[in-house]
Symmetry: none
Subunit: 211 residues, 4 copies
DNA sequence: TATGAATGAGATTTCATTCAT
DNA sequence: AATGAATGAAATCTCATTCAT
């Protein structure tokens, strides 16, 4: 079936474009990024890119979704990793540290979209943020300590957790903290969150660390 | 005899340009913002803007400092406002809510600079961030509960506090939380922080609120 | 399949741009010449010109080389034309008269580059001047009368010959001499040079003219 | 009489502007020269320059006349210096060498005007050229050897002399000849001219040099 | 007379997008 | 489907000149 081969080639080209685009958009920002250069680096013709993406804006948007899916996969893996809430919070924090370190391009793009000026981009980024929050809220809901919360309290708590993990990591990096130092703070951040949430689990967590 | 130009007139023009620039840069981003339009809206000629600012980049940078000073003043006022640590944390949170609501332009510009791609802008924004952190660290240091912390623990704690206040507010706004809802969460956030920091002050704080 | 563009079409466009550029640069000088107008007159889009030439400066430089080659071809043809030294000097002079008359654009451009302020242009023009001098020096060296000269004397002589031909023609034209009058002076100039060089050929030359 | 003092001050300012202008126009060309910078260097206000010269073009023109007068004074002095025709031709050549060396700014400006694209400037420069030619023609007419020439022959001869002196010097300098080498060629050039003109004076000239 | 702040026309160059092949 | 030559809109910044003081 030649159709499938073609389809595979097509998808491979699409992914190649998206990966190059992510790197370029992260490096230069939306405006300064040159579509023609993306085509060149992806090994295709200038015009070909328009057979895959309607225009520059659409390319950016789809690239945003592309990296968002990858991030979300990591976050979910981290949240499902350990046994205790504390372990999962640590894993979440460390996932952000790793992403900020190794996928800083993607992070740049994401933050630029989230707090940048283009409303379309912002909405897309906000959708991803919502999924983050939902995943964390789900985690908290499972934990017996938060059982009494109503939905909006739960969401607010999840957002606080996200702030003290993701935003903390990003801000720390902008301020020049090396990844190694950040990684060593995972326990402290987890404790901060657990105490902040007022869960009994927190003390167990501290005991686990031998404090 | 040279034309004696009022120093006040000059400063007034400068401020007018900065204010228009802040609004335009926030609305359109650095690249899309048109210098000519800024001049027009400021009621001056196209070339006149270059008598006040060397070029577009410099204008952006000075505008960034301009709004940074204004923000910092508010933050410092909030941090010096109440009696207890809890009151001050609430005031800090509410200050961010107010800024995000009423000066959302400035916030946009600041976040774009902080997480955008222009290193010069990023450094400038990071410098402001550092001042935020320093101000909060100073507050924590004053509080007896944190007396035992060393400097780097203090800074990390301050950064956590900033994350759960500023970033929380920004993320919440992107997710569509109205300012009124945010404002009502001031107490909860303050508690989260106090518990997280593990201060005895926290219980006093809760009592003050009659819980 | 890529668009197969005729190499001939490309070269034709290139030449069309160069010809229009020569005329415009000659008419208005480097600074006052408008790239947009060149594109328009060449029947292409504004941006297209940059597919052929990197920038305005490069266009000027290549245009300079373009006309330089054409001039040099004519000069060499003139110097290889007649039998006697005298005939060749006359042919040289007449070639300059013709060039100054029919290709005054090119001459303007060349002189502006030679005595203008742009060092890059000056160097390029000087390189052409050097080729002129070399061609004349070669002619003199072949003539038995100059056999005794050393290299630097030969070059100095060649430069004198060039001065009394090219510069004479240019100065005369600036002073308003019509081409016809100039043409009638070819013999006198040739004699001036021959006598000046002190060649025995000179008298033969005069005899040929029946003096 | 305060009027005279004012008049002197005014003239001094005028000359200062002209001198600065000559240097700037020579260095940068007409278009690239910045009037405001000239004012600054002349120690006056931007607007003041317009009290002395109508506009940039007029300033250039008057500057051209200013340096032309200076050159012409030197040329005339050279032509009236020695006893024999040969000595005067040598003096003329050496005057050009000195001017090209020490007043290369002025020469640049003059040549740019003469062969540049601005007709107004060209006419002014041509007028000076005409005065050069007239001065040389006068010299030749005085010499008994040229007594038989008619006016147009005389002018053509003068133009040839000018070409082999002035243009020779300029071309030589563009080609990189140092002034010292040029100066040493004065005798050879004078001989070239004398032989070229076919004057009996030439042999006397050579004898004078002890050849 | 002298000043210099203010003005705005003007031109090069970039790059997303089109479309003939 | 793929290509890349061609297009032209758009924007920063300079600087000659004006004019209020």
């Amino acid at each position: 079936m030649p159709k499938i081969v073609d389809e595979q080639t097509r998808e491979a080209t699409r992914q190649r474009i998206l990966r190059v685009a992510a790197s370029e958009f992260a490096r230069l920002g939306f405006e300064q990024t040159n579509i023609n250069l993306i085509a060149e680096q992806a090994g295709i013709g200038k015009g070909t890119i328009y057979l895959y993406f309607e225009n520059k804006r659409t390319l950016f948007l789809e690239m945003l979704r592309f990296i968002a899916q990858a991030h979300l996969r990591e976050i979910r893996a981290a949240l499902g990793a350990g046994d205790s809430l504390r372990q999962r919070l640590e894993a979440l924090f460390l996932a952000f540290v790793r992403l900020a370190e190794q996928e800083s391009d993607s992070f740049h793009v994401f933050m630029s979209a989230l707090y940048g000026v283009n409303r379309i981009f912002q909405q897309e980024a906000a959708a991803l943020l919502r999924e983050y929050v939902a995943a964390i809220a789900h985690l908290l809901a499972e934990s017996r300590a938060c059982g009494a919360m109503n939905v909006s309290e739960l969401e607010a708590s999840a957002l606080m957790v996200l702030s003290v993990t993701e935003s903390y990591v990003l801000a720390a990096r902008v301020l020049g903290y090396p990844a190694s130092v950040l990684a060593s703070q995972a326990g402290a951040v987890a404790d901060f969150v657990l105490h902040g949430l007022g869960t009994s689990d927190s003390h167990a967590g501290e005991r686990e660390q031998g404090k």
